[in-house]
C-alpha cells in the first residue's frame, strides 16, 4: 500500500532532503506534497487525502505545534499521524509535543533510517 505524505518545513533544502530520504527509504509513497508552513499545510490537508504529516516546528505564520493542535482538534483530520522533524531536542518540548498527540519525534540532523523506521512503525500502528 502506498501512502500520501505531506512534508512541512520552511526550508526548501530540508523539504528536498526529507523528500529524497523518504523516497529512498523503501517506504511506499503515493503522492508527496510540500508546504512551507503550518497554514499552507492546513489548506493542503483540506483538499487532499494525507496519510502522514512530517513537520518542522519552528516556522513562520503557523509553527509545527500549532499545526498539530489544529489537525488534532478537527474531526476530519485528527486521525492523521504526525511526526515532528525538528532541531529542538529538549525533553520538555518532546513531552509537550507527545501530549498534543504526535506519533513520532525525530531530531535533526537525522540518519535516513530514522525516518524510514518511524514511518514504518507509525503506519503499521495506524493502518495495520
Amino acid at each position: 500500500m502506498a501512502y500520501n505524505v505531506l512534508i512541512v518545513d520552511d526550508s526548501h533544502t530540508m523539504r528536498t532532503v526529507i523528500k529524497k530520504t523518504v523516497a529512498i527509504s523503501g517506504f511506499e509513497i503515493g503522492e508527496c506534497w510540500e508546504a512551507g508552513d503550518g497554514l499552507e499545510a492546513l489548506n493542503l490537508v483540506k483538499d487532499q487525502w494525507v496519510d502522514v504529516v512530517l513537520t518542522d516546528v519552528n516556522m513562520p505564520r503557523m509553527n509545527g505545534l500549532e499545526l498539530v493542535k489544529a489537525l488534532k482538534s478537527d474531526e476530519a483530520t485528527r486521525h492523521i499521524p504526525i511526526v515532528l522533524i525538528t532541531t529542538e531536542g529538549s525533553e520538555a518540548r518532546m513531552r509537550e509535543a507527545y501530549a498534543l498527540g504526535i506519533a513520532g519525534y525525530i531530531q535533526k540532523p537525522f540518519y535516513p533510517e530514522a525516518i524510514r523506521d518511524a514511518l514504518n512503525r507509525i503506519m503499521e500502528a495506524f493502518h495495520g
Binding site: S11, H12, V17, P60, S90, K108
Partner: protein, 165 residues
Amino acid sequence: MDENLGRAAAQAVGHVFETMFFVFLEPGDSPAGEDRDGPREGAEAEMLGSLGFQGRLRGVLRLRIPYTLARGLATNFLGLETPASEAQAVDMVQELANMVCGNLFSIFDGQEVYRLGTPRAEVVRGAPDQEKAGTAETLRLDFLAEGRKIGLELTWEAAVAGPAG
C-alpha cells in the same frame, strides 16, 4: 559555564556536520575565545548563518563557512549533479545554523525549552563583526572541515527569569 557550553557547541557542530554531510571536523588552529582581527580564509567570501535563541540563556549563534565550501556542501547535501546555487547554499547554511543551535542547547541544557529565532544567512567579506553588547559573554570556536576553517560564535547573557509556571 563557558567550558560546558564550549563542549556542547563542539559536540553539536561535529554531530551536525557528520550526520548531514559525512564530514568529520577537526579542531581549528585558533584557540577558543581568541579574537579575530582580520579576514578568514584570505579574501574569500564567507557565508554567515545566524539565529537568536532564548531560554535560560539568550543570545545569538553565528556560523561562518567559506563560500565555496558552503556551495560544495549544499551540492552534496541536496544530491545535485550541478553546483548548488547561491540561494540553495544560503538556505542550507540557515538550516545548518538552526540544527547546530537546536542540538547545542539540547546537549547543554536538555531540560529547558529554548525558543529559536528564524535563521538567516548572508554572504559576507572581510573581518567578522566584533559585536559585544553590555554584559554579554562571547565564545568562539574554530573547526577544520576538509582543510577549510569554519567558525562558530556564541554571544549570550543570562535571561531575566520570568514568572514560574
